[in-house]
Every structure is written in C-alpha cells, then in structure tokens.
C-alpha cells in the first residue's frame, strides 16, 4: 500500500522520476543544489544527479530563464526554479517576449519549465505571496499549470517537462506540507489542458484552482449539510483553459462563481467569467459571480492577510447571494 505523500513530496517525486528517465532534463535555480532549495523541493538531487544537472545560479532570474531558453532550443529540457514565484517578474521579458514567441515567429519550440512556490496564507507579505498567473495569461505561446492536489502536482510536473512548449508551473506553497494523498501507481502523468471535477453537484458551480480548491471543498461540505450541492471544478491548467469543462458545468448547474486568490482586476478568473457570460448566458439563472482577493498588494499582518484572502466564510456568503438571485 502506497504511503500518503505531501504535495511537496509529489512534486519532488515527479521531478526525480523525469530526471531519472530522461538525461536531457536538468535544473537551474538559486540554492537548489547543496541546500536543496528554499522549500527543499530539490533536496537530494545534487547527490543523485550531480552539479552538471542541478545547477546553482547567481541571483539572475532573467539570465536563468534566458539560459534555459538557449539550452532548450538545443535539445535539452531545463527546469528553472524561482525561489519564490514573485521573482518571476524579473524574468518577464525572457518569458513573454522570448520563450513565448519563438514557436510562432520562427518555428522554434522552447521546451522549458519555470516552476516555483506561489500563493499566500503563509504570512509571506508582498513579495513572497503572489499569484502571478494573470500577468502571463494573455501571452500567446505559454502554458500555465497550477495543481491543487498531490497527484496532480506530480502528474502535471511530468507533463510540463515533457511538453515541447514553455510551461509555467505554479506550486501553491500553502499546500506544500498541508495536504497528503496516496498517489496513483505507475507514471501518473496528468494531461495539460484538462480540468478536474473535484466535487460533483447540481446547484451551483465553483470554478477555481490551487489552494482555493480546498476552500471551495470546505464550503461545499458545509452546504451539503443543508442539502445544497456545490460542484467544484479544479481548472488545474490555466492556459490553455479547459473551456469545455467549465461551460458544461455552467450549463448543468446554471449558476457559477469563479473563485481566485488573485487580485480581482485582470485575473484569470476574469477571463473564465467572461467566457461563461459570453458562451453560456442562456443557461444561467444568475450573473456569473467572482470572489477574488482585493486589488491591493498582499498584506503581511495576520489580521490583514486574513481579511485579504478569500476563505470559506466569504465563499459561503457569496454562494448564498448567488443562490437567492
């Protein structure tokens, strides 16, 4: 019987198995070698795979991604770790202008992965808590993945590494050691671009991803006691969006709330809500609702961050409003 493993351990296993299986896979990042990474995702990798494949870099996010692009077009499969995903902003140009456009402009695939810890609720303050998916959502050529479970974390990091396109892999650091699951036997690769039905229901759909999936499931548990069945759809991949999945759920339950940990404006949640309003309007009994973080930087103090983050209480309130519409 397989032991339950944490979300972090699942990512570690996925990376490890891909490094074992494919000698072209290698890693670049800050403090990923002897130290094993700020969150220990790469602990033990240096001993097993050596400094040629587990490369500590200077604090140069742009050059890390640039070098990964160069190695990727030469036939290798680099995996870049951002120590905290907030620092991906320092590599924005290399990602959106270089990596994302090569295939379209000159036919050159760029098989790289940029991964790292995202998300709040760990008192990380403004620069260790962000959810940057919205910045990248509208960059054609990128793929974006944000798993909510250990099985998906392992399965999707494998698919991200095998994908011939640049993939951004956002790990929710709140989940790293807080959830544990038994992983499915075997390879366990999970396809990019497919949402997951986290809970089936008939009365209202919550579309979400990352740590917010667990918030939605908590709220759904509370509603179940009242005989109200929420459907929870875990997007898993944010780019390309599994539009069919959320449109089908909208047509089924006729009420949709999009739940995101991002600030509201310009979020991935905004795109999901827009597509449902545009393409499933005739099936809706209420306007598409959104529950997001407010349009401020992520605050530090527990009282402030708790007020800032979406949570189950806020979600229950919004769902009740939507059900009574």
């Amino acid at each position: 019987m397989a032991e339950p493993v944490t979300y972090l351990e699942a990512i570690r296993q996925g990376l490890w198995e891909e490094m074992e299986a494919d000698p072209t896979v290698f890693m670049l990042g800050q403090d990923i070698g002897a130290y094993g990474g700020a969150f220990r995702v790469t602990a033990g990798f240096l001993d097993r795979f050596g400094p040629e494949r587990v490369i500590d870099t200077p604090i140069s996010e742009s050059a890390m991604v640039g070098a990964a692009i160069g190695a990727g077009i030469m036939g290798l499969k680099p995996v870049v770790e951002m120590q905290f995903i907030d620092f991906i902003a320092c590599a924005f140009n290399q990602i959106v202008n270089f990596a994302a456009t090569c295939r379209y402009r000159w036919g050159q695939a760029v098989p790289i992965v940029v991964r790292g810890p995202a998300g709040g609720n760990v008192r990380g303050s403004a620069f260790h808590s962000q959810n940057p998916e919205g910045y990248f959502q509208r960059a054609p050529g990128l793929k974006i993945v944000a798993p909510a479970t250990a099985a998906d974390a392992k399965g999707l990091i494998k698919s991200a590494i095998r994908d011939p396109n640049p993939v951004l892999f956002f790990e929710h650091k709140y989940l790293y050691r807080r959830i544990k699951e038994e992983l499915p036997p075997g390879d366990g690769a999970v396809p990019i671009g497919k949402a997951r039905l986290a809970r089936a229901g008939r009365d209202l759909t919550v579309v979400t991803w990352g740590a917010m999936v667990h918030v939605a499931l908590e709220a759904a548990g509370r509603f179940a006691a009242e005989g109200v069945e929420l459907e929870v759809l875990d997007l898993r991949t944010l780019k390309p969006l599994d539009e069919e999945a959320f449109l089908a759920s909208a047509r089924k339950t006729n009420r949709v709330l999009v739940l995101t940990e991002e600030p509201l404006t310009g979020s991935v949640g905004a795109e999901v809500a827009a597509r449902i309003a545009e393409k499933a309007f005739d099936w809706l009994d209420a306007p598409v609702a959104r529950l997001a973080a407010p349009d401020t930087p992520v605050p530090y103090s527990p009282t402030l961050e708790d007020a800032w983050l979406p949570n189950a209480d806020k979600l229950v309130t919004r769902v009740r409003e939507l059900l009574s519409h």
């Binding site: 040629e52 870099t57 200077p58 695939a109 054609p140 396109n165």
Partner: protein
Amino acid sequence: MAKMSRGLGPLHPQAAPAADRLAKTSLGRDQQLELYRYLQLTRMTEARLGNLYRQGKVVGGLYSSRGQEAISVGSAYALAPQDVIGPIIRNLGAMLVRGVQPREVMMQYMARADGPTGGKDANTHFGDLARGLVAPISMLGALIPVLVGVALAGRMLGRDLVAMTWIGDGGTSTGDFHEGLNLAAVWNVPFVLIAEHNGYAYSTPTEKQMRIKNIAVRAAGYGIPGEVVDGNDVLAVYEVTKRAVDRARAGGGPTLVEAKTFRMKGHAEHDDAGYVPPELFERWRERDPIDRFHRHLLAAGLASEEELAAVVAEIDRVLDDEVDRALASPFPPPERALEGVYEEPPPPEAEAGGVGAP
C-alpha cells in the same frame, strides 16, 4: 584585464595615414578575398534593401549596418560550422557568412510568404538552428543569456561548440548584459560577446550611456578577458575573435570583445541622424572598412582592381536574381496569422528518442 590590442586610444580613433595598415593576419589570399566578398555582399544587399524601401516594398523599418560590416563579417568568419550565433539588427554580414541568402532577408523585410518566418516577423528576426542561427527579439541584451544557455547545452551535450552574439554600446546598459555575461563567466562556458561601440544608441551618444570610454573594461568586473579592437579593420576583428573563439573552445571561458566603429546611418532608414555632427561622418568615412580592406588587398598584391571589380559585378548579378525571386513571393495567406503558436507534443512513442539534433 582589458587589453588595448590595437593601441587606438580611449575614444574613437581619428583617421590617420596609419589607418590603412590593417592587422597582421593568418588568413591567406583566398580567405581574404572571401572576406571581401562578404563585406561587399553585406553592403550591396543593404543597398538593394534601401532601393526596395524607397519603392515602398519594405513594410516596416529598415536597418543598416553601413560602416560596421567588418565587425559582423570578421567575427562570424572566425567560427566553425557547428558554432551557434545570435545576430542582432546590424549583423546581416554575420548571417550572410553563415549561409543566409539575401532573398531571405529581402522577403522578411517585404513581409512575404516565402520568407523564413512566412511573414510573421520582420527584418533579420529569424533563426534556423540547422545553420546555427538563433533569432533575436527587439529587447536588447536578451540574446546574451540565451546564447550562454546555448553554450552550456553544447558543453552538456559534449559538442565542440562556441556560442557568440553581439551587442551595441546602448545595449550594454541592460540588465541582461550584466546577468548574462556574469553567468557566462561563473559557468566558464564557451561564449563570445562582441560589443559594437558605434557611438550612438538611436540618438543617444555613448557619453550619456556610460562613464567609461572602453566597454571592454567591464570584462574585468566579470573576471574574463576583454579586448578592444578596431572594428573597421576586418582582419583585426577576425584575429581578435579567432583568439576568443579558440580560447572558448579550449575551455578557457568567455571573452568580451569591444569593436570601435561608427554607425554611418541613422538608427533606421527613417532617421536622418541629424543629431550626429557631420564631421564625425566625414572622419569615419575615411576609415570605411570596405574601402580600407580594398586598398589593403591592392597594396598587399592579393588582388587587382579588375579582380575586385569582378567580385562586385558577380554580386550585382546575384542580387538582381535575389531581388526578382524575393519580389515574386506573395504576401502570406491571412489564415496564417493564427497558425503555429504552440508546438504540438510528439506522439508518445516518439518521446523516447533522447536528445534531438537541432
């Protein structure tokens, strides 16, 4: 660490009688004539592009390397076939040395269907790893870490490969210049960066870009060799690049080469460069890299006027044909605008193939 290999003094050299004395070279007659052909091919291709621009055939902006041809040609000529380059906008000569055909660039500028990007991107913005070419993006400096990654991959894959790219004086102010060169140094990868010090970044003169006179001194900050070379002497550029490439290939790590030159046109064709004092153009015209090399070939007895004229005439004939072929290509079909954003994943059984050749 910076070494003044030609004793040119701190800023841009004045024209002097000694200016015609080119660097000593190991290159023989045939190779020097090949350099001459590439220099002329670069300038004459750009002249044809200028004609096409004035005829309204060029859809976007047109960029010239006039006055700087010796840098692109001389540096690219120092590479081996397996080496990889990332040319930027004034490196047409390097692309021609790598086997790019003039019509490819013409079709790019004219946004035609049969250009290397099929109308999706402009000018010299195309790549082809089969010819060791990485396409640039317009953001300067970005290619530096990318080519450092190419060099790293070459080492990891056990290939005898040197990676090279270019940057202007303005581009040395970017973060990627610093991050990339530092990374190359720390990794000690086979990488060469040629900094073309041409006096102006668009309209901004170098003294508003940096407080140093020689970009090459920056190499000391990364613990790598830096060399200054007369960028208007194709033989000097070849020799200094060859040294850097040989060192890189032997495991000696990266080199920063600064080539002193001057941009003889505006930033792009629309720019009349009215901000450049006319006497600078006059002074640098006397140091024109092609004229100097032409005089060198004659003075050294390597070619006659007639032989050099024949080279030019042959290029003219080639370019007539290249222009015709480029003009014959249609604009791309509109539906192409939506194609090719993503690479399709290979079928599962094809994934076990290991390292794919570029």
